[in-house]
């Protein structure tokens, strides 16, 4: 069809040239030239527009079954989408020959997402071996993809907001060293949960093996434990050498010794409109990735629930935020062990599906699971009635069925065991059945139907860009589903210590807030900083500890029912006593600088941190206030002040209350070390 269209255009152009040559007078020549120009313009426009693909077409990622040089992988996405991977449009009738490459000209590409109106496709792509992964947009009618992002550490996992903004996670996790394991092609279960890539003894590794690397990368990424720094890491991620002297690696429970997985900084979510600057959306201690946009307009993503106790396993679970990063809310899978959760997608049948895998399993050993929107915290279970293992992706097909990409071993014509194909399954399916689309030379993954879906709701931001603080209102600090540290669940909190998360996994005290008799407290806190809380009894002993998890955006008013209260609860209708008093201002010197995609600290010498309103009845409860200008930290002293920080370990029960006045400086130092991306 395309060839025919081209030849007809060529014929038309040739005829016009002939007509132009035969024109006898200048007037004739002008008129013929004008006609020719018009037709040529039309032809050129037509070449750009083409025909929109028919309904029922698929957009999917194809990764080569045989990876030539696995050692070349330097980032998690290089593992997930090895060189040669591509995003294609598969047209019905489906077959290996009836595909159109959407990622033309790119070294590798993957993770396509189709807009709700089925007119746009965005995906992660890599132009060449030395460049970073970025988000690209392709026209379904053809043409070369257009780069959308230019993130310094790379960008991945796009999603589309109804406004046209692309949400993505950045930077792309970087793999440094590679260690050989005992894994071989016949034994994909390596037994070791660490990041393992065959060091080249095999001519090629299976996609399953390389995906295990990605799996471990994300596992480590989501937990955020630091390891030694390395100059190469900074270079590899595009950060300036020395800018970030620490990096993150997998957690202790993932046995990461010997693996050097560099995580220069946590992966965060960003949103970017075409031509605009990226705006950072997440500010938690843990990384955030795998975003998708729900019909109600929220962004659903995967992150880790910070551990309340050091020996706890970190949960990989699902969270939501609004499209401006406000209202971080736990969505599902909290406190359900240390398994991995990936690639959540709304299924439009009242469920959200996702991939789940044990923390010690390979990424291609994922199970398809789902939660019901009606009871997301109490309804997790298999997506299908049969045990679907080795699942790579699940998407709603738009007609009530699902597109599942899974291993298609055993089918006729397969050249190799273990490659993936696309299946269409009904909700009550009992088996995978025959593939809908299968190209044995490729792993066909991440298939999405090219069908219109409900347009997600928009959301008008309640942020106030001119503010540097947000507000936290807790309706009842004594309301918690956590046990009290001392075992006395009836102990009443007198004060609440507000913590700010640091990049080294520790936290620092911003100050303390008095708790009113109804359990409520109100505090103004620095925006875009991970915040944790500790309730303290009258003797200053810690009753409950909520590690730095949430954040507030500038000008956001955030309200919680309790400190780690049960999920999906509405508040009791009462007016909290705390709103009758002015909010306690804490950590005033933690501030955002207005950089579009992150926070950077700047010491504000006007007031000391952890100050408290003098009108409050317990002024001492909120930390010591700088009594004279000499006591106030000076501008530029942020790094030096860090040495006097009081760091708060996660939860020594019975710890007496500590008060810090200079915690801001450390975060300021940390923040100023962060290099804002373009």
């Amino acid at each position: 069809m395309t060839c025919g269209f081209k030849s007809s255009r060529l014929g038309l152009s040739k005829g016009l040239l002939l007509a132009l040559g035969n024109a006898h007078s200048s007037a004739q020549a002008r008129s013929v030239a004008g006609l020719a120009s018009a037709i040529l313009l039309c032809a050129l426009a037509g070449a750009g527009c083409g025909r929109h693909p028919p309904a029922g077409a698929l957009v999917l990622t194809q990764t080569p079954v045989a990876v030539r040089d696995p050692d070349a992988a330097s980032g998690a996405l290089d593992v997930r989408y090895p060189p040669g991977s591509r995003v294609v449009l598969a047209l019905p009738p489906f077959g290996p020959a009836n595909v159109r490459v959407l990622s033309r000209g790119l070294l590798a590409a993957g993770g396509p997402v189709v807009s709700h109106d089925a007119r746009r496709v965005v995906f992660a792509g890599k132009a060449d071996a030395t460049s970073h992964w970025q988000i690209y947009e392709a026209r379904l009618t053809g043409g070369r993809p257009r780069v959308v992002t230019a993130m310094e550490g790379g960008a991945m996992e796009p999603a589309l907001l109804p406004t046209g903004e692309v949400v993505f996670s950045s930077p792309v996790p970087v793999l440094l060293a590679v260690r050989r394991t005992e894994a071989d092609s016949s034994s994909p279960n390596v037994g070791d949960s660490t990041l393992l890539i065959n060091a080249g003894l095999r001519p090629a590794v299976s996609a399953g093996d390389v995906n295990s690397a990605a799996s471990a990368a994300f596992r480590a990424h989501s937990e955020g434990v630091e390891t030694a720094s390395s100059p190469r890491a900074g270079l590899a991620t595009g950060l300036k050498p020395g800018v970030n002297e620490t990096s993150r690696v997998g957690p202790s429970n993932a046995s990461t010794s010997g693996n050097e997985l560099r995580m220069p900084q946590g992966v965060a979510l960003y949103a970017k409109l075409a031509g605009g600057r990226p705006k950072r959306l997440t500010f938690g201690s843990a990384s955030a990735f795998d975003p998708t946009v729900l019909t109600d307009g929220r962004i659903l993503f995967v992150s880790a629930q910070p551990r309340a106790r050091t020996h706890d396993a970190a949960d990989r679970s699902l969270f939501t935020i609004n499209n401006d990063g406000t209202e971080l809310t736990a969505f599902a899978c909290q406190h359900e062990g240390d398994g991995l959760v990936r690639r959540p997608r709304e299924l439009f049948d009242g469920r959200v599906g996702f991939l789940a895998m044990d923390s010690h399993a390979l990424a291609n050993h994922a199970r398809a699971e789902a939660v019901r929107l009606a009871r997301p915290h109490a309804s997790r279970g298999p997506l299908f009635a049969f045990a679907l293992q080795r699942c790579r992706s699940v998407e709603a097909a738009g007609d009530g069925t699902f597109l599942v990409c899974a291993e298609a071993s055993g089918f006729v014509g397969r050249s190799r065991r273990g490659s993936d194909a696309v299946f269409r399954l009904a909700r009550d399916a009992r088996s995978l059945g025959e593939p809908l689309f299968d190209d044995p030379a490729w792993n066909d993954i991440e298939a999405t139907a090219l069908a219109p879906r409900p347009k997600p709701k928009g959301h008008l931001s309640t942020m106030q860009a001119d503010k540097r603080m947000g507000t936290i209102l807790c309706l009842d600090a004594n309301r918690s589903s956590d046990r009290s540290a001392g075992g006395n669940d009836n102990a009443v909190a007198e004060r609440v210590r507000v913590l700010a998360g640091l990049e080294d996994g520790e936290s620092t005290c911003l100050g303390e807030v008095p708790v009113q008799s109804d359990g409520s407290f109100l505090a103004e806190v620095p925006a875009d900083v991970p915040l944790g809380f500790e309730t303290l009894d009258a003797q200053g002993r810690v009753l409950r500890h909520v590690p730095p998890t949430i954040w507030v955006r500038p000008g956001e008013n955030r309200t919680c029912i309790g400190c780690h209260e049960p999920h999906n609860r509405s508040p009791r209708n009462h007016r909290p006593l705390a709103v009758n008093l002015p909010a306690v201002r804490l950590g005033e010197r933690f501030q955002t600088t207005g950089f579009p995609n992150g926070i950077a600290g700047a010491a504000d010498t006007r007031t000391a941190s952890a100050s408290v309103s003098s009108s409050l009845p317990q002024p001492e409860a909120a930390g010591r206030r700088a009594s004279s200008p000499a006591e106030a930290p000076k501008a530029g002293s942020a790094v030096e002040s860090a040495s006097v920080l009081e760091r708060v370990s996660p939860l020594p029960a019975g710890t007496p209350a500590v008060r810090s006045e200079s915690a801001a400086d450390t975060i300021a130092a940390r923040d100023s070390a962060r290099s804002p991306s373009p």
Binding site: P162, D296, G297, E327, T329, G350, R372, L373, A374, R375, P376, H377, A378, K457, G458, H459, L460, S461, T462, T471, L473, L475, L522, N557, R558, T559, P566, H567, N568, R569, S570, P571, R572, N573, H574, R575, P576, V579, N580, A583
Partner: protein
């Protein structure tokens, strides 16, 4: 004319015009300051005080009327369903086998609520606008009798008692219940109900009647609101008890469960005392169901789910076997099916604390909600066939009655009454007004806070201007056309602005209305007339007349002149009883950021309690007895109790 002459003429003309304009401006400002007695006012347009005529108001214009179904009643044999069409002043009879309209009869006065006697021979019709009950002979479909009842009757129920048949009528305008004997048709009692009684149900044996009241009883500012479920003895008309539904309102239906001695009342669980920092997780309100048992204890359970809401629960129908209840979500366009046996099991196993907090647990509903049946726009009234196999749903803004097969929980047909009238912008606007899909997760609609465009009688704390600051009483939308600016601080110059992006940001938490929807919505709001507070054509009583003289007084009874700025009619100038200018009336509270508040119109003021910008005054009397001790809000210190009562009586007629 030479150029020089032209220039000279032009300059002189411009100067003359400038001087004229300056003079006019100066005169206008002086005029305004003189007649308002306020020196803080500058230029004010003439139409604040002049050129206002009620007959030109959008709400006074003739409007298209549509076949919007209200009350439903099914004949005992299940073969016919009667449908009230209040806008058309008609009652229609439809065949349930063919779903076709058989006969129509004109019943003047806005027939709204329907009920049949036990034989099905008499149909009783509550006529909302005529304050009467009409009796229809169902064989001839002809009006045979009628009786005057309280103000704005909207629901009627029939029951057999030991002393004979009784009718119970919910008078939504006069906040009382008319208890009628049927033969002869006469009123035997009119006990007071809660605020805006809206639905009536009786037990099968006629021993008890239950009246659901739509609004919470008037409370002040930060008091916990509560709606009332009024329980009475139909035989005597005496009130047995008044059950309190905490933090509940918008109850438009009530049903009894014969096998369990339960009374089910759909409600909106409102959380107006919590600052509105979000709407997720039912932060502002959620839908629920109150279960009252024979002992008078009340349990509230949610109808909403964690990420899916069914806003504005309205009508309810309970099958005679007591196994299922059906609740219409008029904002969510769905009917929720409640498995009462599962619900009973859950209640049996739940401990006291769990039951107490059940309404706030959004993960609970799947335990007893057996299904959700999508409907057309704005399902309100429900009724079941006697065998319980067919559910009829009045799709009010669809001009149709949906017929649902309750064995499959699927639509089985539709009784078409009209075309939906989508060519009428007012009707389109009403659809927008009642549609919950505009808000985040379909949590509520405009109607959730403004039932029928009026007030919910609650105060809210919006977070945009600080947590705990600037509590705001909900203002009525009735008769607001041409009364801009809007909001208590008068910051919104028009309804388009009021309902535009600000509303989306603060309340809907989604995107603003599309322009065409906003246009229709404003058209609808402007078409809302003031509420009717007394029977039509009734002259003022002597007390009301004395109150009128006080309202327009320029001198106190002892001859002292009342400063012009303190005369009632200076700010509350007829015919809208507002000059639409901000004024300081000494009502600034400790958490308010201004003392200047928009002057509200007084049309229907009797029905829009509480009063003042933050709802601190529960009654009109309190405006002067509690909150105007320094004669800033008018001069009232000279009034004795009788004079104050007279003034209030007059205000209640507006």
């Amino acid at each position: 004319m030479k150029p020089r002459g032209f220039s000279l003429t032009a300059c002189v003309g411009v100067l003359a015009l400038g001087a004229l304009g300056f003079g006019a401006h100066t005169w206008t400002v002086a005029h305004v300051q003189r007649w308002t007695g306020r020196q803080d006012l500058g230029f004010v347009g003439c139409n604040h005080c002049h050129l206002v005529r009620l007959e030109r108001m959008p709400w006074a214009q003739e409007r298209p009327r549509h076949a919007a179904p209200a009350g439903l009643a099914v004949s005992p044999d299940g073969q016919r369903v009667f449908i009230a069409l209040d806008e058309l002043d008609q009652v229609v009879e439809a065949d349930t086998a063919s779903n076709r309209v058989l006969r129509k009869v004109t019943i003047g006065g806005g027939p709204f609520g329907l009920t049949l006697d036990s034989t099905g021979e008499q149909l009783f019709v509550a006529c909302r606008h005529a304050d009467r009950i009409a009796v229809l002979d169902t064989r001839e479909l002809k009006e045979s009798a009628n009786l005057e009842v309280g103000l704005a009757p909207v629901a009627v129920a029939f029951c057999e008692t030991k002393v004979g048949p009784r009718l119970l009528v919910a008078n939504s305008g006069s906040d009382d219940i008319s208890v009628l004997s049927v033969a002869p048709l006469r009123e035997i009692a009119r006990p007071a109900a809660g605020r805006e009684p809206f639905a009536v149900a009786t037990t099968a044996d006629g021993a008890r009647a239950f009246v659901a009241n739509r609004l919470a009883t008037v409370t002040r500012q930060t008091d916990l609101p509560a709606a009332e479920l009024t329980v009475l003895d139909p035989a005597s008309g005496r009130i047995v008890s008044r059950q309190r539904l905490d933090s509940a309102h918008l109850s438009e239906g009530v049903g009894t469960v014969p096998t369990r001695e339960w009374t089910l009342t759909p409600l909106v669980k409102v959380r107006n005392l919590v600052p509105i920092t979000q709407v997720a997780n039912g932060w502002v309100m959620s839908s629920g169901l109150a279960i009252s048992d024979a002992g008078g204890s009340v349990l509230q359970i949610p109808l909403d789910e964690a990420n899916d809401y069914f806003a504005d629960p309205s009508g309810i129908a309970v099958d005679r076997s007591g196994r299922r209840a059906y609740v219409a979500s008029s904002g969510g366009d769905a009917v929720s099916v409640i498995d009462l046996e599962k619900l009973a099991r859950w209640i049996e196993h739940a401990d006291e604390a769990t039951r107490h907090e059940a309404i706030d647990d959004l993960a609970l509903a799947p335990q007893y909600v057996a299904g959700r049946i999508p409907t057309g726009r704005n399902p309100r009234h429900l009724t079941l066939s006697p065998d319980g196999r067919t559910l009829f749903v009045a799709e009010r803004l669809e001009d149709a009655v949906l017929v649902i097969d309750t064995t499959t929980l699927r639509p089985a047909g539709k009784i078409v009454l009209g075309d939906g009238a989508l060519d009428d912008p007012r009707r389109r606007g009403e659809r927008v007004f009642t549609r919950a899909s505009n808000t985040f997760q379909r949590q509520f609609s405009c109607r959730s806070c403004h039932p029928d465009g009026h007030v919910d009688g609650l105060s809210y704390d919006f977070d945009g201007d600080g947590l705990g600051d600037n509590l705001l009483d909900n203002r009525t939308l009735l008769a607001v056309a041409n009364t801009g600016p809007f909001k208590w601080n008068g910051k919104n110059p028009s309804l388009d602005v009021q309902c535009g992006p600000r509303f989306a940001r603060v309340l809907m938490r989604t995107e603003p209305f599309p322009p065409h929807d906003l246009r229709d919505l404003v058209t609808f709001i402007q078409s809302l007339p003031p509420p009717r507070t007394r029977k039509q054509g009734t002259p003022l009583t002597p007390a009301q007349e004395r109150g009128r003289q006080i309202f327009f007084a320029t001198r106190t009874p002892d001859g002292n002149e009342i400063p012009r700025r303190n005369q009632c009619h200076t700010c509350h100038r007829p015919p809208l009883y507002t000059t639409r200018l901000p004024a300081a009336v000494g009502s600034r509270g400790p958490r308010d950021t201004t003392d200047q508040f928009d002057t509200p119109h007084l049309l229907g003021i009797a029905t829009s309690a509480p009063y003042l910008h933050d709802g601190r005054a529960a009654t009109l009397e309190e405006l002067w007895t509690v909150f105007n001790t320094n004669d800033v809000h008018g001069v009232s210190s000279y009034m004795d109790k009788k004079q104050l009562n007279d003034l209030v009586e007059f205000l209640k007629t507006l």
